[in-house]
Amino acid sequence: MITPSSTGNWLLAALLLLPLVGAAVVVALRGNDHVAKLAALAFSLVEFVLGVVAWIQFEPGGARLQQGFSLDWIPSFGVHISFAVDGIALVMIAVIGLLVPLVIGAGWADKVPEGRTKGGFFALILLEQALTVGVFAATDVFLFYVLFEIMLIPMYFLIGSYGGARRQYAAVKFFLYSFLGGLIMLASVIGCYVLAGEELGKNTFDWSELTSVVSKAPLETQIWLFLGFFVAFAVKAPLVPLHTWLPDATAEAPIGVAVLLVGILDKVGTFGFLRYLLPMFPLASKELAPLVLVLAVVGVIYGSMLATGQRDMKRFLAYVSIAHFGFIALGIFAFSSQSMVGSVTYMVNHSIATGMLILVVGMVIARGGSTRVADYGGMAKLTPVLAAMLLIAGLSSMSLPGTNSFISEFLVLIGSFPNAPVYTIIATVGMVLAALYVLWLYQRIMQGPLRGDALVGAAGGPGTMIDPEIGAKRAIADLNGREKLVLAPLVLLIVGLGLYPKPVLDVVTPTVDATMCQAALVDPVQSAPSAQSGERQSQCR
């Protein structure tokens, strides 16, 4: 049980409720697009500020779960509405707070399909924000499950109502995949609950209490329960071969939604690995680690190769993410604090880098009106700033040193190497492939002579005007002020966190240490004075 701390109490509640209120307000205002947009932006900005405040108030060396509050919900099951954050949840909530205003800003001028309103779109985004914040902050497993499932619904409508041509297929596929995974997890959730009920003699869904009971269960029990959770998280994450919903969903979703989908929603899976799988099922985690590692490494290579084989930019982005999620899973199941911290920072940095990549690709698509790579070529000539942005996002995606993603990929790999050298070596091949697919995309779209239907040909329809001065369509202009404003924070973070990742590392490391401790894991490479670690062994935070 979490005892409410004096300061965090209102803060987390506000973080959860504000987007909900925002969604309601925006829906109410949807008659007037402009006002609704402003309201949505305002709410998301305030939420961002709250997230920053939460970060500042978080004490990295303090209790495992902080800023918590708890209310009774269903007493007969011992279900509580209890939220709190640890370092991992905190950084993810901060990322959500960062991305949502940017997504709103990026989608500011996009047209919505006929019969829909901008207000409805932004309201759904705010709703999704509230739910995802809840998923990361929930400390009651029942509550987690509930939020885990219902966060599908706004996303389902975001894809289905505002998406591309095959949006129905994509939305249903997305929903069914996640829902089936969630249902299988439900079986495990109930299993843990039943187990805890037998052990403790009382009904509880409290994460800490469940963890303390389930982690002592015999291996076989743990394996079954582990698998239930794992399937749900692996679908979300997505690990090969449960990934095929993502390319379809990403390809059909509007750009902003794709950012949320890949940047936030999918992170719930890897978050679940860390928060639920390792602490709750330490024996099973160790037993099944090779399985996950294989899937992770396969994901790295497979996702990378498929990314190079895509003809559609948005599908490309999905496969890039699949490769990246392979790295994240590798880091988590390589069982060292470096690799796990790497994975958590990877989650953050992937949101920033891939989020930016998606936004930039969206800007490309908005100009050319086509998602096919083949419709572009030599665009840098027309839009040098846009090209630079694509390159920066791409470089971060391939984890170039100096960008944020390098820190995480480096930590994942160097941390994984001592425990899982073979997997790590295979995964390093992904580094080369990452360069291959990023540069491939950049070359096809931005470099070479001006070409492609989207820029000079017929893709825009017969009425498209070719501007004689630039030799391309009139619609092809470089980034405007709003777009620059949207991308600027991301560029700053990419470079800033690449050079000085300490703020993130310091917040994440204690939580990862606690997770390692709960899972009875010891770093393969100990720091020289080992007395400290021995002391840490004695009790987990």
Partner: protein
Amino acid sequence: MTGTINLAGTLADGAQQATGVANLAWLLLVLPAAGAAVLLIGGRRTDKWGHLLGSATVIGAFVYGLVLFFDTTALGADDRTRDLHLFDWISVNSLSVDLGLRLDPLSLTFVLLITGVGSLIHIYSIGYMSDDRDRRRFFAYLNLFVSAMLLLVLGNSFVTLYFGWEGVGLASYLLIGWYQGKDFAATAAKKAFLMNRVGDVGLALAIFLMFKHMGSTSYDVVFAEIGNQSTGVVVAIGILLLLGACGKSGQFPLQAWLPDAMAGPTPVSALIHAATMVTAGVYLIARSSPLYSLAQAEDARFVVMIIGAITLLIGCVIGCAYDDFKKVLAYSTVSQIGYMILAVGLGPAGYALGILHLLTHGFFKAGLFLGAGSVMHGMNDEGDIRRLGGLAKKMPITFITWTLGYLALIGFPFLSGYFSKDAIISAAFSAGGGRGWVFGGIALFGAGLTAFYMTRLLILVFLGKPRWEKLKSEDGRAYHPHESGPTMTIPMIILSIGSVAAGAILSGMLPGWLEPSVGELAEVHGPLSHTAVSILTVGISAIGAAIAFAVFGRREQPVTRPQRVSWPVRAARADLYGNHLNEALFARPGVWLTRFLVFVDNRGVDGVVNGIAAGLGGSSGRLRRLQTGFVRSYALSMLGGSILVIAALLMVRFA
């Protein structure tokens, strides 16, 4: 964190904390980086003065480098290794990586090379790029490169080195792809980056091994602990580092990107792909000298030497066959770096020699490239030497400076190359036994080939009759060769002075100066005396040059390359089939595999899912036909169900 530094402080050969003027060493990185940032963010607003700012920052860095150099020379030999801790960079429990600088003779040597040559090339570029409307951006990239390169050589851990290592890769990528509107430039840039990444993987894996076995990646700890490691670990790290070096330095088997990199503007070729970046591999091995010097590293050293020897031959052979001015120089670079790698592969006997050749090569090869640039600048960017000829009269300064560089390269007595290359050849002979004869022989033979292809270049470009008079360049203009302006000629002159004098000056001082970094230059005695080797080398070079004169100097050369040539020439023209091999081994199977995987993903993985869905739908469609609407069939199904239930119950009970 600070732990490593304190730990290092207790070691005998550890670094001292930097003080005084050295405390500002971060300026070296920040000056050019700030220049790049201002130019990139400022955009078109900085067009007017961007090139000046770019040059100024690098010159400023050079000046500071000089100050630092003299500051260091003022110290005793034991105090010349200093560390500057900037901030904790990546720190998670037992892993701690600082962003810290290592100021020692080795890194300072490189600082001077980089900022010095860098300054000259910045100045040269002001003229060379004057027609380019994006000149500002070019300077930004150059500054970015200088900054990253300085980080590479100044970092005090392998991770900071890796940071700079990939940073220069990025700058190189941007600059090779400078003419990105052209497909070949974009492809060359991508190829360079990718092949470098392959090498980088080696470097990265070496770092992982260090962390696993030594718990740190800083030079101090790694070099202190490396002696306690098993032979397997040492050799593995040694070979992986070599893989990194191969990528960056264009060594076999990753040499194919370097000639393609000539797609970039010539100053880039001079600075990055001749004088500085490509020598990073040599730096890496020299920097890791405590590792390579170990007895356990014998095998690793041997591999280094083999790679160096193979590469130097490949470079020479291919250089003989190419008709592209810059590509010949590029293969020359490949081969010269082969010499350096061979030298550092010799261990304590060769580190200083490798660095010496690196420095002299930096002067003359940069000068050669700038000369080539000057020629192309005056010849409508024509790079095909068969379409040049007789330019000596039209471009006297270029001709003279270029010829000095040429002489230095082929080892003309008492010019730079004579000192550095001869020393390497001599050391190679002393590698011991049959090994010495083989490596020495290869190095000697390479010297002859070098003289051959460089002389060929000299003849075809500057001497003979002009072949360009009746031709037009690709864009339809006639050729009007002319001497370049002072911003271009002055750097060439300075570099040619360096080409002449550097060897003589440095060969005496350098080994002693570098001693704190790479150890004492071991005295070796081979089967041939140093003098004998010198005479042999000069003789063979002279023969090579003479053959070139005999073949190319006496008769008129055709404007197009002859097609009917012997197989060695064909092979050399095809890069000794290196690209074909890459294509056949990696590129094409990769494409096939990708297509196959796309198919598998769409039809296989996704197909299973869609197949299950379709199967459910299909069975649903068939099953619903059972709901016939006839009440009697419903009754039948109920009866059947009942019988089944009862039968099952009875079976459970009685069976």
